[in-house]
């Protein structure tokens, strides 16, 4: 965990915004990608693009783990039997976590796209606004949103607000 320790130690030192941009650019990219992905999920009316936003969101998290595991001059953590453990090794744990998370992300994308295909077969559109009108015509969601269902119409933004306000 030497890498983690180093990151923490330098992270607590007072740094100017410019220094953060130049030395911690991977973390800045993490935050940016996260926000872009979240915004895409909320603002884009196309269901497939929402899923692309979701992927971007998840990729940002992979970046966080990979960045945090980077050790200057670190070696692969495989020690030949009998050899002395003198080198600096990289912790394999974050890499393993990212691998698992990628697998999870791929299966989620698959399920999401399968659902998109079904929705397209059924309604012939992937735009949420058109879809909502079709569902309303079908009677699947109430005519004029009542108080209870008014929230449904603004689901994406409400969800994001709630998710963010706790942070």
């Amino acid at each position: 965990m030497t890498g983690v320790g180093a990151v923490l130690a330098s992270g607590t030192a007072a740094t100017s915004a410019l220094e953060v941009m130049t030395t911690r650019h991977a973390y800045v990219a993490f935050a940016l990608l996260l926000c872009i992905g979240l915004y895409m999920m909320i603002a884009n009316p196309n269901l497939v693009k929402k899923i692309i936003g979701l992927n971007l969101f998840q990729t940002a998290i992979f970046l966080l783990f990979i960045t945090s595991a980077y050790v200057e001059g670190g070696a692969i953590p495989i020690v030949a039997s009998g050899a002395a453990e003198t080198e600096t090794f990289v912790s394999p744990l974050p890499q393993v976590i990212v691998l698992t998370a990628i697998v999870v992300g791929v299966s989620l994308t698959a399920v999401g796209l399968a659902l998109c295909i079904r929705i397209y077969d059924e309604y012939g559109t992937l735009r949420t606004d058109t879809l909502r009108e079709l569902l309303r015509d079908e009677g699947a969601i109430p005519e004029r949103p009542q108080l209870g269902d008014g929230r449904v119409a603004t689901d994406g933004s409400a969800a994001a607000d709630g998710g963010e306000s706790d942070d």
Binding site: L8, K50, F57, L64, S68, I119, L131, L135, D155, G163
Partner: protein, 534 residues
Amino acid sequence: MTDVLLPVAIAVPIVAATLPIALGPRYENVGWPIAAVATVALVGLTGAIGAEVALGGQFSHALGTYQPPVGIELVADELSAAVLGLVAVVSLATLAFSRVAGPRGNPFYSGYLLLVGGLTGLVLTGDLFNLFVFLEIVGITTYALIAAGRSGASAYASLKYLVLGTVGASLYLIGVGYVFLATGTLNMLDVQAQIVEQAGYVDPLVQASYAFIVAGLALKIALFPVHVWQPDAYQRAPDAVTALMAALVSTTSAYALIRVTYTVFTVDFLAANDAITTALLVVAGASILSGSALAAMQSDLKRMFAYSSVAQFGMIAGAVGLANETALLGGMVHLIGHGLLKFGLFLGVGMLSLGYGARRIEDLASVAREAPYTAGAIAVMGLALVGIPPSIGFLGKWYIGLGAVESSLTGGGVAGIGIAVVIFISTLFTLAYVARLIERFYFAGVGLPDGHGDDASDPAVTDGGRKDASEASEAAGVPVSPVEDAPRSSWVPDRVPPASLAVLVLTALTAVGLGFAGFALAEWFDPFLTEVFA
């Protein structure tokens, strides 16, 4: 050797999940028997784990003999044994209904078994990242099962849940990443020790980590501002899936919240971060109020009980935020009790829709005459949900309310009193919508041509009475009648599947019976509480 029970309990449903698909091309309808065998085995294993915990306290298993903190650990203690019991029993009971009501087909039972395996793993794991993996297994299978409904609306509801649920799990993963950066470990107990050693409770990284984890789990649990996926998902899913989901999926996420809060971050962390606890209590209070109010406005039965879940989980989140022994006990009791009650209620609603085609409150006039046992069981469980003693619903709410008042009296500020008041208001709302249901069941048929009582034809009745009766008949519409191919049984007049009816009545009796078990439950959870509040 008994510790090997834990991995076996997870492996049995997951391995069995491959069988329906593998054997599908050769044998038709092999899914249900395989699911039944695997779930019965899971109930047996759960019983053994429960007995082991009762006799010897908590025990753990190091997967693949890699010792923690490096390896992944599975742990069973009083809390996880209780939730595991709920998972095993409810998933077995759901099978009785899904056999008749569908969805049919082998792939459905593969998904079903994967879901059960994921829930089991979620309850037993002692590793933060492993928890994320099981959270996603549960999530993905739930999305697939919701989409097993035939309509396009269910695919849309499922996709909405997929997007929001994945954001929730990803936020949880960010939280885990932060706490990993702060401590360099993922084992729950090790993180608990390392937070103190390496970071401290007021380290911004640790605080941010907890905030992300709570936000993520709140999405999964469906607390107030982020509950929007839940009513649609519950309403559009096939009835058997709704019963399973409402009883288990959010419940295990709430279990994860309790576990992460008290085993990983501990009470001292909550005490050191007033702002975080206050925010949690505010969200919980908003959840309780809005969930109850929205539930009272619905006319679709499944939607009504779905919003009611938002309120009940608000209470559990409130119990977590209060960080008080009594309240946490209430939270755990309510976690189990609410799971049981919602299973019963959604099962009853599903049975009524199967036998009578009734999905909305208006359709249910005098259903108690047609289906006395089903209506009776739903009414009993509705009253238990309101919190009328003796019932498990009363116990949970009572302890949470008591804990809330206690925390205020011992210098916890107004937040405790606020939660108690909000719970009281929510109880009134719950009474309002349950009473509406009971009124439909037992009284709305008065004056119908075929109605019970003889008010309509009684000449002695006053003009006012006659007028009321005719008004009632206009308002009530037609009495319910069974659908054409509704199942029939020689034992009861209810036109519902007999096996499911037995399960429903048993669930109602258990919900009432557990109301007498307050002391036993307190004793069962006592070792966990002593450990947490040591």
